[in-house]
Symmetry: C2
């Protein structure tokens, strides 16, 4: 087979997408080459337009229109400006917003501590978090990270560096998911549900 | 959540890639937005360069540089010009070339008969195949399609319309894959291996 540089480059670029291995990238590239509806150019233009039109909010990290920075969530006056919800990524902000369960402001770390992947504290938006806590008179920092080892390590790290600040630190509750039953819950979930039990008023 | 049109468009375009559902497309889009190494633009440029630089050979359908059309495989004088291997897609040409087992020329149909997906004979490059058989003095048409129902239907259809032409029609052999044993073969494979038995010389 003769080498087709543009095809090789396309496969290499597609392989960098999350969850896409070399084989899948090759299949995608071949589909794009054979496509007769201009999908190659449609996708290229969508990427260019997203690259121009979309950015992460400089304040909270949320995905926003480039022309709206800081983003709507940062600027909405009705939101509770004293509670700051710390999440791993902009996608988490969307999920929590969809839930309708939170009315404060957000701060995305853009990752979590992961020695395995070479992500240290300096790679996260922690400096920015500390500045915001000081400048925005934050009273409570709600840590909304998951329950895996890396998330737990990140939560512990945040708790440590925030210890000297005059803020309340909280973490989202872990327990039975909505609609679940004791019968179908795993031990780890039940143990956390028991240790995190709440007083009934 | 406010609607971000460029993000929605990107997710829609990514969803059109083979094997990519809405969820995966959303995850890809978020990764691209957060990426700090310019992956969004790298991928866009790779797509634009592939769209400009790569095309399907007008003669055989093989993927080739736009500036080399007809492709190298069609023009190589050393290849046997009298046997034409009919495949479903350009990817199949690559696979057979890698095998080193075929030295003739190719013809990709760009699909197979599939009432389920609305692909009829008119959507395949059959007219072109008939023209090539006449113009290029083809002596043998080797049908290199798979063994599923749609491929079998396509092979039968080709056999029928080629019946009146002065060409030998053959189909690739089905039987035990290389390195396999009777013990581990399924019934359908064994049945075809027996019915397709070959005389030992």
């Amino acid at each position: 087979m003769n080498h087709l540089v543009p095809l090789d480059n396309l496969v290499a670029a597609l392989s960098r997408l999350p969850g896409i291995g070399r084989r899948t990238a090759e299949r995608m590239a071949m589909t794009l080459v054979q496509d007769r509806k201009g999908l190659m150019r449609i996708l290229a233009n969508a990427l260019l337009e997203a690259d121009d039109g979309i950015a992460c909010c400089e304040r909270c990290g949320n995905v926003t229109l480039t022309i709206k920075n800081p983003c709507d969530l940062c600027l909405q006056p009705r939101r509770d400006a004293q509670i700051l919800c710390v999440v791993e990524s902009p996608g988490d902000i969307m999920k929590i917003e969809e839930s309708g369960g939170f009315q404060g402001r957000y701060h995305a770390l853009m990752g979590r501590l992961s020695p395995m992947h070479g992500t240290g504290a300096a790679d996260l938006r922690v400096d920015k978090l500390l500045r915001r806590i000081a400048e925005e008179n934050i009273e409570e920092v709600l840590i909304a990270l998951g329950t895996d080892v890396e998330s737990d390590a990140t939560a512990s790290y945040l708790k440590e560096i925030l210890a000297t600040r005059a803020v309340k630190i909280s973490r989202i509750a872990f327990g039975l998911p909505a609609g679940s039953a004791i019968e179908y819950s795993d031990s780890a979930t039940l143990a956390r549900a028991v240790s995190g039990r709440q007083k009934m008023d």
